[in-house]
Protein backbone atom coordinates (compact mmCIF):
# COMPACT_ATOMS: atom_id res chain seq x y z
CA UNK A 1 0.00 0.00 0.00
CA UNK A 2 1.40 3.39 -1.00
CA UNK A 3 0.20 6.91 -0.46
CA UNK A 4 -1.66 8.68 -3.28
CA UNK A 5 -0.02 11.79 -4.69
CA UNK A 6 -1.66 15.07 -5.60
CA UNK A 7 -0.69 15.42 -9.26
CA UNK A 8 -2.66 18.54 -10.15
CA UNK A 9 -5.20 21.00 -8.82
CA UNK A 10 -7.66 23.49 -10.29
CA UNK A 11 -10.45 25.77 -9.14
CA UNK A 12 -12.69 28.64 -10.17
CA UNK A 13 -12.80 32.02 -8.50
CA UNK A 14 -14.88 31.76 -5.33
CA UNK A 15 -17.56 34.42 -5.07
CA UNK A 16 -20.88 35.62 -6.38
CA UNK A 17 -21.38 34.09 -9.80
CA UNK A 18 -25.15 33.59 -9.88
CA UNK A 19 -25.27 33.16 -13.66
CA UNK A 20 -22.67 30.41 -13.82
CA UNK A 21 -24.05 26.86 -13.93
CA UNK A 22 -22.55 24.13 -11.78
CA UNK A 23 -21.48 22.24 -14.88
CA UNK A 24 -19.64 25.24 -16.31
CA UNK A 25 -17.84 25.90 -13.05
CA UNK A 26 -16.83 22.27 -12.60
CA UNK A 27 -15.62 22.07 -16.20
CA UNK A 28 -13.30 25.01 -15.55
CA UNK A 29 -11.95 23.52 -12.33
CA UNK A 30 -11.62 19.97 -13.69
CA UNK A 31 -9.85 20.99 -16.89
CA UNK A 32 -7.50 23.22 -14.89
CA UNK A 33 -6.64 20.29 -12.62
CA UNK A 34 -5.96 17.96 -15.56
CA UNK A 35 -3.81 20.63 -17.19
CA UNK A 36 -1.92 21.23 -13.96
CA UNK A 37 -1.27 17.49 -13.60
CA UNK A 38 -0.02 17.22 -17.15
CA UNK A 39 -1.49 13.75 -17.59
CA UNK A 40 -3.41 12.16 -20.43
CA UNK A 41 -7.12 12.69 -19.57
CA UNK A 42 -7.81 9.20 -20.92
CA UNK A 43 -5.92 7.83 -17.92
CA UNK A 44 -8.57 9.11 -15.46
CA UNK A 45 -10.51 6.10 -14.20
CA UNK A 46 -13.21 7.60 -11.97
CA UNK A 47 -14.74 10.87 -10.72
CA UNK A 48 -15.48 11.36 -7.02
CA UNK A 49 -17.65 14.49 -6.84
CA UNK A 50 -19.05 16.45 -3.89
CA UNK A 51 -22.22 18.55 -3.99
CA UNK A 52 -24.78 19.42 -1.33
CA UNK A 53 -27.71 21.52 -2.55
CA UNK A 54 -27.83 20.88 -6.29
CA UNK A 55 -31.47 19.80 -6.24
CA UNK A 56 -32.53 23.01 -4.52
CA UNK A 57 -30.25 25.43 -6.36
CA UNK A 58 -30.31 24.02 -9.89
CA UNK A 59 -33.11 21.43 -9.85
CA UNK A 60 -30.40 18.98 -10.74
CA UNK A 61 -29.91 15.61 -9.12
CA UNK A 62 -27.62 12.85 -10.38
CA UNK A 63 -24.89 15.38 -10.93
CA UNK A 64 -21.79 13.20 -11.10
CA UNK A 65 -22.18 11.85 -14.66
CA UNK A 66 -23.04 15.38 -15.80
CA UNK A 67 -19.83 16.68 -14.26
CA UNK A 68 -17.66 13.93 -15.74
CA UNK A 69 -19.13 14.79 -19.14
CA UNK A 70 -18.48 18.50 -18.54
CA UNK A 71 -14.77 17.75 -18.15
CA UNK A 72 -14.84 15.54 -21.24
CA UNK A 73 -14.40 12.30 -19.35
CA UNK A 74 -16.18 9.02 -20.01
CA UNK A 75 -15.72 7.41 -16.60
CA UNK A 76 -17.83 6.07 -13.73
CA UNK A 77 -18.79 9.02 -11.55
CA UNK A 78 -20.38 9.18 -8.11
CA UNK A 79 -21.70 12.13 -6.16
CA UNK A 80 -20.92 12.35 -2.44
CA UNK A 81 -23.26 14.25 -0.15
CA UNK A 82 -22.22 14.82 3.45
CA UNK A 83 -23.43 18.42 3.68
CA UNK A 84 -20.39 20.74 3.92
CA UNK A 85 -18.06 17.70 4.15
CA UNK A 86 -19.18 16.32 0.79
CA UNK A 87 -15.88 16.61 -1.05
CA UNK A 88 -13.89 15.61 2.04
CA UNK A 89 -15.82 12.34 1.88
CA UNK A 90 -15.11 12.16 -1.87
CA UNK A 91 -11.36 12.54 -1.28
CA UNK A 92 -11.44 9.77 1.29
CA UNK A 93 -13.00 7.24 -1.06
CA UNK A 94 -10.65 8.23 -3.89
CA UNK A 95 -7.71 7.69 -1.53
CA UNK A 96 -8.96 4.22 -0.66
CA UNK A 97 -9.49 3.31 -4.31
CA UNK A 98 -5.95 4.34 -5.20
CA UNK A 99 -4.38 2.76 -2.16
CA UNK A 100 -5.86 -0.64 -2.70
CA UNK A 101 -4.65 -0.68 -6.28
CA UNK A 102 -8.03 -0.66 -7.98
CA UNK A 103 -7.23 2.59 -9.78
CA UNK A 104 -4.17 4.67 -10.60
CA UNK A 105 -5.76 8.00 -11.51
CA UNK A 106 -8.82 9.62 -9.94
CA UNK A 107 -10.40 13.03 -10.34
CA UNK A 108 -11.89 14.41 -7.11
CA UNK A 109 -13.75 17.65 -6.78
CA UNK A 110 -16.91 19.48 -6.01
CA UNK A 111 -19.12 22.33 -7.09
CA UNK A 112 -21.85 24.44 -5.56
CA UNK A 113 -24.06 27.09 -7.08
CA UNK A 114 -25.69 29.05 -4.25
CA UNK A 115 -26.10 32.77 -4.82
CA UNK A 116 -28.56 32.33 -7.72
CA UNK A 117 -31.34 31.45 -5.24
CA UNK A 118 -30.84 34.52 -3.00
CA UNK A 119 -29.89 34.74 0.67
CA UNK A 120 -33.21 33.55 2.15
CA UNK A 121 -33.45 30.44 -0.01
CA UNK A 122 -29.75 29.68 0.47
CA UNK A 123 -30.23 29.98 4.25
CA UNK A 124 -33.13 27.56 3.93
CA UNK A 125 -31.11 25.15 1.79
CA UNK A 126 -28.19 25.17 4.23
CA UNK A 127 -30.54 24.53 7.16
CA UNK A 128 -31.49 21.10 5.79
CA UNK A 129 -28.10 19.82 6.90
CA UNK A 130 -29.76 19.78 10.37
CA UNK A 131 -32.61 17.51 11.55
CA UNK A 132 -35.65 18.80 9.65
CA UNK A 133 -38.34 17.60 12.06
CA UNK A 134 -36.73 18.49 15.34
CA UNK A 135 -34.36 21.38 14.52
CA UNK A 136 -35.36 23.17 11.31
CA UNK A 137 -39.04 23.23 12.31
CA UNK A 138 -38.00 24.90 15.55
CA UNK A 139 -36.45 27.71 13.52
CA UNK A 140 -32.88 26.53 13.58
CA UNK A 141 -30.73 28.07 10.87
CA UNK A 142 -27.13 27.12 10.09
CA UNK A 143 -25.78 30.25 11.85
CA UNK A 144 -28.33 29.62 14.62
CA UNK A 145 -26.98 26.13 15.21
CA UNK A 146 -23.41 27.40 15.55
CA UNK A 147 -24.69 30.20 17.79
CA UNK A 148 -26.12 27.54 20.12
CA UNK A 149 -22.69 25.88 20.16
CA UNK A 150 -20.89 29.21 20.67
CA UNK A 151 -23.03 30.07 23.71
CA UNK A 152 -22.53 26.58 25.11
CA UNK A 153 -18.77 27.03 24.63
CA UNK A 154 -18.76 30.39 26.42
CA UNK A 155 -20.77 28.87 29.30
CA UNK A 156 -18.47 25.86 29.59
CA UNK A 157 -15.04 27.40 29.05
CA UNK A 158 -15.40 31.19 28.90
CA UNK A 159 -14.26 33.31 25.98
CA UNK A 160 -15.48 36.45 24.31
CA UNK A 161 -16.90 37.76 21.07
CA UNK A 162 -13.72 39.82 20.72
CA UNK A 163 -11.67 36.61 20.65
CA UNK A 164 -13.93 35.25 17.92
CA UNK A 165 -13.46 38.53 16.04
CA UNK A 166 -9.68 38.00 16.09
CA UNK A 167 -10.23 34.77 14.14
CA UNK A 168 -12.22 36.62 11.48
CA UNK A 169 -9.56 39.34 11.27
CA UNK A 170 -6.82 36.71 10.86
CA UNK A 171 -8.60 34.80 8.13
CA UNK A 172 -9.52 37.94 6.21
CA UNK A 173 -5.90 39.04 6.43
CA UNK A 174 -4.71 35.66 5.11
CA UNK A 175 -7.01 35.96 2.08
CA UNK A 176 -5.75 39.39 0.98
CA UNK A 177 -3.38 38.14 -1.79
CA UNK A 178 -5.54 35.10 -2.70
CA UNK A 179 -6.96 35.88 -6.13
CA UNK A 180 -9.45 33.00 -5.83
CA UNK A 181 -10.92 34.31 -2.55
CA UNK A 182 -14.39 35.84 -2.28
CA UNK A 183 -13.31 38.42 0.31
CA UNK A 184 -10.01 40.16 -0.33
CA UNK A 185 -10.94 42.72 2.27
CA UNK A 186 -9.11 43.70 5.43
CA UNK A 187 -11.28 43.99 8.55
CA UNK A 188 -10.66 45.02 12.14
CA UNK A 189 -11.89 43.60 15.44
CA UNK A 190 -14.10 46.69 15.74
CA UNK A 191 -15.64 46.02 12.31
CA UNK A 192 -16.49 42.49 13.40
CA UNK A 193 -17.90 43.52 16.78
CA UNK A 194 -19.98 46.32 15.24
CA UNK A 195 -21.43 44.14 12.46
CA UNK A 196 -25.13 43.19 12.44
CA UNK A 197 -26.05 40.14 14.52
CA UNK A 198 -27.24 37.12 12.53
CA UNK A 199 -27.90 34.72 15.39
CA UNK A 200 -26.77 36.00 18.76
CA UNK A 201 -23.89 35.78 19.74
CA UNK A 202 -22.71 35.42 16.11
CA UNK A 203 -22.59 38.42 13.79
CA UNK A 204 -22.03 38.96 10.10
CA UNK A 205 -18.23 38.66 10.33
CA UNK A 206 -18.43 35.48 12.38
CA UNK A 207 -20.04 33.84 9.39
CA UNK A 208 -18.68 32.63 6.06
CA UNK A 209 -20.29 34.12 2.96
CA UNK A 210 -22.59 32.35 0.50
CA UNK A 211 -20.39 31.30 -2.39
CA UNK A 212 -20.44 29.90 -5.91
CA UNK A 213 -17.43 27.89 -7.01
CA UNK A 214 -15.87 24.61 -8.02
CA UNK A 215 -12.70 22.69 -7.22
CA UNK A 216 -10.88 19.65 -8.60
CA UNK A 217 -7.72 17.65 -7.97
CA UNK A 218 -6.07 14.79 -9.80
CA UNK A 219 -4.91 12.07 -7.41
CA UNK A 220 -2.59 9.36 -8.67
CA UNK A 221 -0.91 6.27 -7.27
CA UNK A 222 2.76 6.50 -6.41
CA UNK A 223 3.55 4.00 -9.17
CA UNK A 224 1.72 6.10 -11.75
CA UNK A 225 3.56 9.23 -10.61
CA UNK A 226 6.91 7.42 -10.88
CA UNK A 227 6.15 5.78 -14.24
CA UNK A 228 5.08 9.08 -15.75
CA UNK A 229 7.78 11.16 -14.06
CA UNK A 230 5.17 13.49 -12.59
CA UNK A 231 6.04 16.49 -10.47
CA UNK A 232 3.85 15.29 -7.59
CA UNK A 233 5.71 15.67 -4.33
CA UNK A 234 2.70 15.97 -2.00
CA UNK A 235 1.16 12.75 -0.69
CA UNK A 236 -2.05 12.10 1.21
CA UNK A 237 -0.61 10.03 4.02
CA UNK A 238 -3.56 9.85 6.40
CA UNK A 239 -7.34 9.78 6.21
CA UNK A 240 -9.99 9.70 8.92
CA UNK A 241 -13.71 10.18 9.27
CA UNK A 242 -16.00 10.58 12.26
CA UNK A 243 -19.71 10.91 12.91
CA UNK A 244 -22.06 12.18 15.60
CA UNK A 245 -25.78 12.41 16.29
CA UNK A 246 -27.61 14.54 13.74
CA UNK A 247 -29.44 16.90 16.15
CA UNK A 248 -27.46 19.04 18.58
CA UNK A 249 -29.88 18.19 21.39
CA UNK A 250 -29.02 14.48 21.05
CA UNK A 251 -25.29 15.10 21.44
CA UNK A 252 -23.25 14.31 24.49
CA UNK A 253 -21.36 17.60 24.04
CA UNK A 254 -22.42 20.99 22.70
CA UNK A 255 -18.99 22.60 23.00
CA UNK A 256 -16.90 19.72 21.69
CA UNK A 257 -16.96 17.86 18.37
CA UNK A 258 -16.36 14.12 18.81
CA UNK A 259 -16.73 13.53 15.05
CA UNK A 260 -13.62 15.65 14.53
CA UNK A 261 -11.84 13.92 17.42
CA UNK A 262 -12.52 10.49 15.91
CA UNK A 263 -11.57 11.59 12.40
CA UNK A 264 -8.33 13.11 13.68
CA UNK A 265 -7.38 10.06 15.76
CA UNK A 266 -7.84 7.85 12.72
CA UNK A 267 -5.97 10.18 10.36
CA UNK A 268 -3.01 10.63 12.73
CA UNK A 269 -2.76 6.85 13.23
CA UNK A 270 -3.08 6.28 9.52
CA UNK A 271 -0.24 8.69 8.78
CA UNK A 272 1.85 7.45 11.71
CA UNK A 273 2.14 10.93 13.20
CA UNK A 274 0.90 12.75 16.28
CA UNK A 275 -0.72 16.19 16.42
CA UNK A 276 2.67 17.69 17.33
CA UNK A 277 3.90 16.91 13.80
CA UNK A 278 1.36 19.26 12.20
CA UNK A 279 3.05 22.39 10.84
CA UNK A 280 -0.04 24.20 9.52
CA UNK A 281 -3.61 23.44 8.58
CA UNK A 282 -6.89 24.35 6.93
CA UNK A 283 -9.90 23.86 9.20
CA UNK A 284 -13.63 24.12 8.56
CA UNK A 285 -14.33 27.66 9.82
CA UNK A 286 -17.86 28.11 8.47
CA UNK A 287 -18.22 30.26 11.60
CA UNK A 288 -15.47 31.67 13.81
CA UNK A 289 -16.47 29.36 16.67
CA UNK A 290 -16.09 26.40 14.29
CA UNK A 291 -12.35 27.12 13.99
CA UNK A 292 -12.08 26.96 17.77
CA UNK A 293 -13.99 23.68 17.99
CA UNK A 294 -11.89 22.23 15.15
CA UNK A 295 -8.51 23.07 16.71
CA UNK A 296 -9.60 21.47 19.99
CA UNK A 297 -11.14 18.44 18.26
CA UNK A 298 -7.92 17.92 16.30
CA UNK A 299 -6.06 17.67 19.62
CA UNK A 300 -3.95 20.72 18.80
CA UNK A 301 -5.41 22.55 21.82
CA UNK A 302 -7.00 21.42 25.06
CA UNK A 303 -10.77 22.04 25.31
CA UNK A 304 -11.28 25.71 26.22
CA UNK A 305 -7.83 26.83 25.02
CA UNK A 306 -8.24 27.51 21.29
CA UNK A 307 -10.66 30.42 21.70
CA UNK A 308 -7.71 32.75 22.34
CA UNK A 309 -5.26 31.20 19.85
CA UNK A 310 -5.68 33.85 17.14
CA UNK A 311 -5.68 36.69 19.67
CA UNK A 312 -2.43 35.33 21.14
CA UNK A 313 -0.89 35.20 17.65
CA UNK A 314 -0.37 31.44 17.68
CA UNK A 315 -2.51 30.64 14.64
CA UNK A 316 -1.71 33.76 12.65
CA UNK A 317 0.59 33.71 9.64
CA UNK A 318 3.71 34.33 11.72
CA UNK A 319 2.58 32.12 14.60
CA UNK A 320 3.76 28.61 15.46
CA UNK A 321 0.69 26.97 13.90
CA UNK A 322 -0.73 28.96 10.98
CA UNK A 323 -4.41 28.16 10.46
CA UNK A 324 -6.38 28.86 7.28
CA UNK A 325 -3.65 30.57 5.29
CA UNK A 326 -6.04 30.48 2.32
CA UNK A 327 -8.44 32.73 4.21
CA UNK A 328 -10.51 29.76 5.30
CA UNK A 329 -14.19 29.37 4.54
CA UNK A 330 -14.60 32.70 6.30
CA UNK A 331 -12.81 34.84 3.71
CA UNK A 332 -11.99 32.52 0.83
CA UNK A 333 -15.66 31.52 0.66
CA UNK A 334 -17.60 28.30 1.12
CA UNK A 335 -19.11 26.72 -2.00
CA UNK A 336 -20.30 23.91 0.24
CA UNK A 337 -19.68 20.79 -1.83
CA UNK A 338 -16.39 22.14 -3.20
CA UNK A 339 -14.84 23.10 0.14
CA UNK A 340 -13.12 19.83 1.13
CA UNK A 341 -11.15 19.77 -2.11
CA UNK A 342 -10.52 23.53 -1.83
CA UNK A 343 -8.65 22.79 1.41
CA UNK A 344 -6.64 20.07 -0.33
CA UNK A 345 -5.76 22.52 -3.11
CA UNK A 346 -4.62 25.24 -0.69
CA UNK A 347 -2.46 22.84 1.32
CA UNK A 348 -0.90 21.32 -1.80
CA UNK A 349 0.01 24.75 -3.17
CA UNK A 350 1.37 25.84 0.21
CA UNK A 351 3.53 22.70 0.53
CA UNK A 352 4.74 23.09 -3.05
CA UNK A 353 5.62 26.73 -2.47
CA UNK A 354 3.27 28.11 -5.14
CA UNK A 355 0.61 29.73 -2.93
CA UNK A 356 0.67 33.49 -2.21
CA UNK A 357 1.04 32.68 1.51
CA UNK A 358 3.69 29.96 0.99
CA UNK A 359 6.41 32.11 2.53
CA UNK A 360 4.74 31.58 5.93
CA UNK A 361 5.45 27.83 5.79
CA UNK A 362 8.71 27.54 3.85
CA UNK A 363 10.28 24.80 5.95
CA UNK A 364 7.03 22.95 6.69
CA UNK A 365 6.30 19.46 5.43
CA UNK A 366 3.15 18.28 7.23
CA UNK A 367 -0.33 19.77 6.94
CA UNK A 368 -3.87 18.86 7.90
CA UNK A 369 -7.24 19.37 6.19
CA UNK A 370 -10.37 19.32 8.37
CA UNK A 371 -13.76 19.31 6.64
CA UNK A 372 -17.01 19.22 8.64
CA UNK A 373 -20.64 18.60 7.68
CA UNK A 374 -23.65 20.25 9.31
CA UNK A 375 -22.96 20.93 12.97
CA UNK A 376 -20.12 18.37 12.73
CA UNK A 377 -22.33 15.30 12.54
CA UNK A 378 -19.81 14.41 9.82
CA UNK A 379 -16.10 15.19 9.73
CA UNK A 380 -13.15 14.14 7.59
CA UNK A 381 -9.48 14.77 8.28
CA UNK A 382 -6.64 14.27 5.81
CA UNK A 383 -2.90 14.47 6.41
CA UNK A 384 -0.83 15.90 3.55
CA UNK A 385 2.94 15.55 3.57
CA UNK A 386 5.67 16.72 1.28
CA UNK A 387 7.50 13.52 0.36
CA UNK A 388 9.47 14.74 -2.65
CA UNK A 389 9.42 13.25 -6.08
Amino acid sequence: MTDPRVAGVGLTHFGKHPDRTGRAMFAEAGLAALDDAGIDPDDVEALFYGNFMGELAEHQGHQAPLMAEAVGLDVPATRYESACASSGAAIRDAVFRLRNGEADVALVGGAERMTNVGTAAATDALSIAADDLYEVRAGMTFPGAYALMARAYFEEYGGSKAELAEIAVKNHDNALPNEYAQMQQEITVEDALDAPIIADPLGLYDSCPITDGATAAVLVSEDYADDHDLDAGVAITGSGQGGDKMALHDRRYLARTPATEDAADEAYDDAGIGPDAVDFLEVHDCFTIAEVLALEGLDLYEPGEAIGAAARGETTRDGDLPVNLSGGLKAKGHPVGATGVAQLISLTKLLEGRHPRADAVESADTALAHNAGGTVASATVHVLQEVGR
Partner: protein, 128 residues
Protein backbone atom coordinates in the same frame (compact mmCIF):
# COMPACT_ATOMS: atom_id res chain seq x y z
CA UNK B 1 -54.88 20.70 9.93
CA UNK B 2 -54.48 20.26 6.19
CA UNK B 3 -54.60 17.05 4.18
CA UNK B 4 -50.80 16.88 4.20
CA UNK B 5 -49.47 13.46 5.18
CA UNK B 6 -48.45 13.32 8.82
CA UNK B 7 -44.93 12.64 10.03
CA UNK B 8 -45.51 9.62 12.24
CA UNK B 9 -43.83 9.87 15.60
CA UNK B 10 -43.08 13.58 15.31
CA UNK B 11 -46.71 14.62 14.86
CA UNK B 12 -47.75 12.08 17.50
CA UNK B 13 -45.36 13.74 19.95
CA UNK B 14 -46.64 17.22 19.12
CA UNK B 15 -50.25 16.05 19.58
CA UNK B 16 -49.30 14.59 22.96
CA UNK B 17 -47.42 17.72 24.09
CA UNK B 18 -50.42 19.87 23.07
CA UNK B 19 -52.62 17.63 25.22
CA UNK B 20 -50.25 18.05 28.16
CA UNK B 21 -49.13 14.44 27.82
CA UNK B 22 -45.65 14.76 26.32
CA UNK B 23 -43.52 11.64 26.19
CA UNK B 24 -40.09 10.45 25.14
CA UNK B 25 -38.69 7.12 24.03
CA UNK B 26 -36.65 5.21 26.60
CA UNK B 27 -34.54 2.10 25.99
CA UNK B 28 -33.89 -0.65 28.54
CA UNK B 29 -30.51 0.97 29.28
CA UNK B 30 -32.28 4.20 30.27
CA UNK B 31 -31.27 6.30 27.25
CA UNK B 32 -33.86 8.86 26.14
CA UNK B 33 -34.63 9.91 22.55
CA UNK B 34 -37.41 11.41 20.44
CA UNK B 35 -39.78 9.45 18.18
CA UNK B 36 -39.99 7.75 15.75
CA UNK B 37 -37.44 5.16 16.93
CA UNK B 38 -36.99 1.46 16.29
CA UNK B 39 -33.51 1.44 17.84
CA UNK B 40 -31.91 3.53 20.59
CA UNK B 41 -29.57 6.09 18.98
CA UNK B 42 -27.18 5.79 21.94
CA UNK B 43 -26.80 2.00 22.25
CA UNK B 44 -28.85 0.34 19.52
CA UNK B 45 -31.20 -1.42 21.93
CA UNK B 46 -34.56 -2.31 20.41
CA UNK B 47 -36.25 -2.65 23.80
CA UNK B 48 -38.05 0.71 23.74
CA UNK B 49 -40.97 2.18 25.66
CA UNK B 50 -42.75 5.53 25.81
CA UNK B 51 -42.28 7.34 29.11
CA UNK B 52 -43.88 10.58 30.35
CA UNK B 53 -41.85 13.70 29.57
CA UNK B 54 -40.89 15.59 32.75
CA UNK B 55 -43.09 18.63 33.33
CA UNK B 56 -40.26 21.14 33.02
CA UNK B 57 -36.66 21.46 31.87
CA UNK B 58 -33.71 23.88 31.93
CA UNK B 59 -32.41 25.94 29.02
CA UNK B 60 -28.97 24.55 28.08
CA UNK B 61 -28.20 27.03 25.31
CA UNK B 62 -30.13 29.47 23.13
CA UNK B 63 -29.80 31.95 20.28
CA UNK B 64 -31.79 34.92 19.10
CA UNK B 65 -32.24 34.42 15.36
CA UNK B 66 -32.42 37.68 13.39
CA UNK B 67 -31.78 36.24 9.90
CA UNK B 68 -34.37 33.46 9.52
CA UNK B 69 -35.30 31.00 6.81
CA UNK B 70 -38.36 32.06 4.71
CA UNK B 71 -40.77 29.94 6.77
CA UNK B 72 -39.94 32.07 9.85
CA UNK B 73 -39.70 35.40 8.05
CA UNK B 74 -42.38 37.17 10.12
CA UNK B 75 -41.42 35.36 13.33
CA UNK B 76 -37.98 36.89 13.69
CA UNK B 77 -36.40 37.86 15.94
CA UNK B 78 -37.17 34.69 17.83
CA UNK B 79 -35.36 32.56 20.39
CA UNK B 80 -34.39 28.98 19.52
CA UNK B 81 -33.20 26.99 22.52
CA UNK B 82 -32.17 23.51 23.58
CA UNK B 83 -33.90 22.46 26.80
CA UNK B 84 -32.68 19.61 29.00
CA UNK B 85 -35.58 17.57 30.40
CA UNK B 86 -33.26 15.06 32.09
CA UNK B 87 -33.56 11.85 30.10
CA UNK B 88 -33.95 13.78 26.84
CA UNK B 89 -33.25 17.23 25.41
CA UNK B 90 -35.51 19.04 22.92
CA UNK B 91 -35.07 22.02 20.57
CA UNK B 92 -37.86 24.60 20.39
CA UNK B 93 -38.69 28.29 20.59
CA UNK B 94 -38.78 30.25 23.84
CA UNK B 95 -41.89 32.42 24.00
CA UNK B 96 -43.64 34.53 26.60
CA UNK B 97 -40.47 36.35 27.57
CA UNK B 98 -38.43 39.18 26.09
CA UNK B 99 -35.49 37.68 24.13
CA UNK B 100 -33.22 39.94 26.20
CA UNK B 101 -34.34 38.18 29.37
CA UNK B 102 -33.71 34.59 28.24
CA UNK B 103 -30.90 32.92 30.20
CA UNK B 104 -29.25 29.53 30.34
CA UNK B 105 -30.46 27.58 33.36
CA UNK B 106 -33.94 29.09 33.13
CA UNK B 107 -36.73 26.62 33.98
CA UNK B 108 -39.35 26.25 31.25
CA UNK B 109 -42.41 24.18 30.44
CA UNK B 110 -43.25 22.77 27.00
CA UNK B 111 -46.22 23.35 24.71
CA UNK B 112 -47.08 23.50 21.02
CA UNK B 113 -47.69 26.85 19.32
CA UNK B 114 -47.98 28.13 15.76
CA UNK B 115 -45.55 30.14 13.68
CA UNK B 116 -46.57 33.64 12.66
CA UNK B 117 -45.38 33.27 9.07
CA UNK B 118 -47.07 30.07 7.99
CA UNK B 119 -49.23 28.93 10.91
CA UNK B 120 -47.09 25.80 11.24
CA UNK B 121 -46.86 23.91 14.51
CA UNK B 122 -43.76 24.57 16.57
CA UNK B 123 -42.52 23.28 19.92
CA UNK B 124 -42.65 26.16 22.40
CA UNK B 125 -40.98 26.65 25.78
CA UNK B 126 -42.38 29.11 28.33
CA UNK B 127 -40.78 30.15 31.60
CA UNK B 128 -42.27 28.53 34.71
Amino acid sequence: MSDEPRDDGFDDLLDAIADGEGFYVECDEGHGSLPPRLACPQCGSQELSEEPLPDSGEITTYTVVTVPTPQFDEDSPYVTAIVDFGPVSITGQVQGVDPEDVETGQVVGIDVGETVTRDERVIVFEPR
